[in-house]
């Protein structure tokens, strides 16, 4: 009786047949690059960093188990909260603005006009420019004293904000340069727009639905799975935002005695930047604790997004 209920809940592992065993061995042979890679480059480092996070490990001096002390220190570290706040700012504004802008661009590129394919290349090209190069280029464009943008704003009698000294303007500068490289997201949206059935749009037009109504009630719901995909990848990517901020801060501290990550005034001290700083200072236990918190945050955000979107996302078929 008891065994019966157990076997219902846990299907008993039956011994594999000869054929199955052979196919398993073949499969394992094919899988071996990933299996080895996963064990050595993913699973082992995961376990190791979890253990580091519970110690005061700094790569040099003898290591002591410190249990939760890294985590306790984290929650009292103003720089941790600062970096988390900066990152949340980017996740909220950068991701949403980028999605909105990419969707608009995709709508424009979906117009049936002559030269459409050239326009598409034009919009996409900046996104394949190496991050460091595009960040440097935008720093050069935004320079308040002799940059192009400040000259352009001057034509309208406006004064350029000091993107590199004013902590209120450094993140908008990073969002702007992010928008320039959003070509990949545009192409994904464009592919989605092309999947929207033409017949549906035409039927709605015959029924008297205007451009806005068709967009609002047909196009946007039809591309909602793509919006969700872009949203999730955007959120995950932004939580790990690093290279642009690193290069930006390095420029913002030109002329100063040393390179200050997060310059100006810790306004670009994002989570990954602060983590890197701790790593660089050999505070490896602390950095590992930060990495695990990051992982948890990403996990929770992704699951939340999936959960919340369940009712508002349309899947054909």
């Amino acid at each position: 009786m008891r065994q019966n209920t157990r076997s219902r809940r846990w299907p008993r592992l039956r011994p594999l047949g000869r054929k199955e065993r052979r196919s398993l061995w073949t499969a394992l042979l094919f899988l071996s690059p990933w299996l080895v890679g996963f064990l050595v480059f993913t699973l082992y480092p995961m376990v190791a960093s979890l253990i580091y996070s519970l110690t005061n490990f700094n790569g040099l001096v003898s290591t002591r188990v410190a249990w939760y002390s890294n985590y306790a220190e984290l929650f009292q570290d103003p720089k941790f909260w600062k970096s988390l706040g900066n990152t949340a700012y980017m996740v909220l504004f950068s991701v949403v603005i980028t999605l909105f802008f990419s969707f608009i661009c995709a709508l424009l590129l979906n117009f049936k006009v002559r030269g459409q394919s050239i326009y598409r290349v034009l919009f996409y090209l900046p996104s394949i420019i190496p991050t460091v190069a595009s960040t440097m280029l935008w720093i050069w464009i935004l320079k308040p004293d002799n940059g192009v943008l400040s000259a352009l704003l001057g034509l309208f009698g406006l004064e350029s904000p000091n993107w590199f000294l004013d902590p209120n303007w450094s993140k908008p500068a990073l969002i702007l340069l992010g928008l320039w490289g959003t070509g990949g997201t545009i192409v994904i949206y464009l592919a989605g727009l092309q999947e929207v059935p033409q017949s549906l749009l035409e039927a709605a037009e015959l029924d008297g639905a205007g451009w806005w109504q068709r967009l609002r009630h047909i196009t946007i719901p039809m591309v909602s799975p793509i919006t969700l995909f872009n949203l999730i990848t955007g959120v995950i990517g932004t939580f790990q935002y690093f290279s642009q901020a690193y290069v930006f801060a390095k420029f913002a501290s030109v002329g100063k005695a040393s390179i200050t990550l997060g310059a100006p005034l810790q306004s670009t001290l994002f989570y990954s930047v602060y983590l890197y700083q701790r790593f660089f200072e050999f505070r490896w236990g602390y950095a590992s604790a930060m990495a695990w918190i990051l992982f948890l945050i990403i996990l929770v955000c992704t699951l939340l997004l999936l959960r919340v979107s369940r009712d508002s996302t349309y899947y054909a078929g």
Binding site: L16, E20, S23, L24, T26, A27, L28, F30, L31, P33, W34, V36, G37, F38, V40, F41, T42, P45, M46, A48, S49, Y52, C105, L108, F123, L125, P126, I128, I129, P130, V132, A133, M136, L137, W138, W140, D145, N146, V148, A151, G154, L179, W180, G184, V187, A191, I236, F242, S243, K250, F251, V254, L275, F279, S288, A291, L294, I298, L299, T302
Partner: protein, 358 residues
């Protein structure tokens, strides 16, 4: 009468359509300017003279002071306004306070003393192509033979081996997940998918120790190259999606004929997968070429730097050499642009594959 109304109507429809088409082009150009102008600005800056860099307002086309040669020496040319409004060009030999010593370039013996405030610099379009060789040959520290060409070579080596590693390691793994029936396949595949969510920061420190202390690969390309030979979740996923579109009957028929899994994989599935393989090759190259964090963490000495790291050489503690920096950025970018124009289909295919469901 009836015919006429129809004609008129079609005319108004036509002009309406023309206005709409114009409006669409106009909108595209407005947004397109945002994407394109920075690009032109990068190229323009890369061709500018040092003296043209800080000019306010900036010139969009590279300009430089016009020079004229007098007795084997170059002097800048200025425009001088005469009292009657006509302008003449003079070569300025030097400034003394508010006055300038200048000569007429056609009669250089007669020195004129002219007020400085009535002189205006003459600019001519000049492309400084020498910025490119100069940027390439600029060594970070004198005496050490490390320059941008070394970084270019390093980036190429790392990107090349990353492509090879990714292609040969991901294909068999993806094949097993797509076409071999074995117990535990679905569960294992979920592990693959889940590992995509893991941020690099979690594994970074133990990997750093593993490569540096255990394997002794510190400050070499190996930490960047070797892991690509052990498959990555992202490309496994892409390849598996593609392999599943190959009719299973083909594989089954081959199995009935006594073909081994390896034969099916290498003789049937791989030849059919050239499009996806080239897409993955392109994106792996792009990724390795762009990568900043990996080289920043694993490479220490300048002779091992990649281009992404080396770009920072142009940014000194005090000032930034913008024209050389942009020249180097152009060199960094051009291979990618060329690749894009040759492999446009693979690019677009790759982006769509990542974004769309099976």
């Amino acid at each position: 009468m009836k015919r006429r109304t129809v004609y008129q109507k079609s005319l108004s429809v036509r002009s309406h359509l023309a206005a709409e088409t114009f409006g669409k082009h106009f909108l595209i150009w407005i947004v397109g300017a945002f994407f394109f102008i920075p690009f032109l600005w990068m190229i323009s800056t890369s061709l500018k003279a040092n003296t043209d860099i800080g000019r306010v307002p900036p010139n969009f086309i590279p300009m430089d002071t016009k020079m004229v040669e007098i007795d084997g020496q170059d002097f800048p040319v200025y425009r001088y306004s005469l009292d009657d409004g006509t302008q003449i060009e003079v070569a300025v030999l030097g400034f003394e306070g508010e006055q300038a010593r200048a000569v007429d370039p056609s009669a250089p013996d007669e020195v004129m003393i002219l007020p400085k405030d009535r002189l205006e610099e003459v600019l001519v379009i000049s492309f400084h192509w020498e910025n490119f060789p100069e940027a390439m040959q600029r060594a970070e520290r004198p005496g050490i033979n490390v320059n941008y060409l070394t970084y270019l070579k390093n980036s190429l080596i790392i990107a090349f081996f990353s492509v090879i590693g990714t292609l040969i390691s991901c294909t068999p793994v993806a094949y097993a997940f797509a076409r071999i029936r074995f117990p535990g396949r679905e569960a294992l595949f979920i592990v693959v998918l889940a590992s995509m969510m893991l941020p690099f920061q979690v594994t970074m420190i133990p990997l750093f120790r593993l490569f540096n202390e255990v394997l002794g690969w510190g400050d070499s390309f190996l930490p960047l190259i070797v892991p690509t030979f052990f498959a990555n979740a992202y490309d496994i996923f892409l390849l598996r999606q593609f392999f599943r579109t190959i009719p299973e009957e083909m594989c089954d028929a081959a199995r009935v004929d006594g073909a081994s899994e390896w034969q099916i994989f290498s003789k049937i599935v791989l030849p059919l997968s050239i499009p996806i393989l080239s897409t993955i090759a392109v994106f792996t190259f792009l990724w390795a070429w762009n990568d900043f964090t990996g080289p920043l963490i694993f490479l220490q000495s300048h002779q091992n730097y990649t281009m992404a790291l080396g770009l920072q050489d142009f940014q000194g503690q005090r000032q930034v050499l913008w024209n050389l920096l942009m020249a180097a950025s152009v060199v960094f970018t051009v291979p990618i642009i060329i690749a894009f124009f040759f492999l446009q289909k693979q690019f677009i295919q790759g982006i769509k594959l990542t974004g769309l469901k099976e």
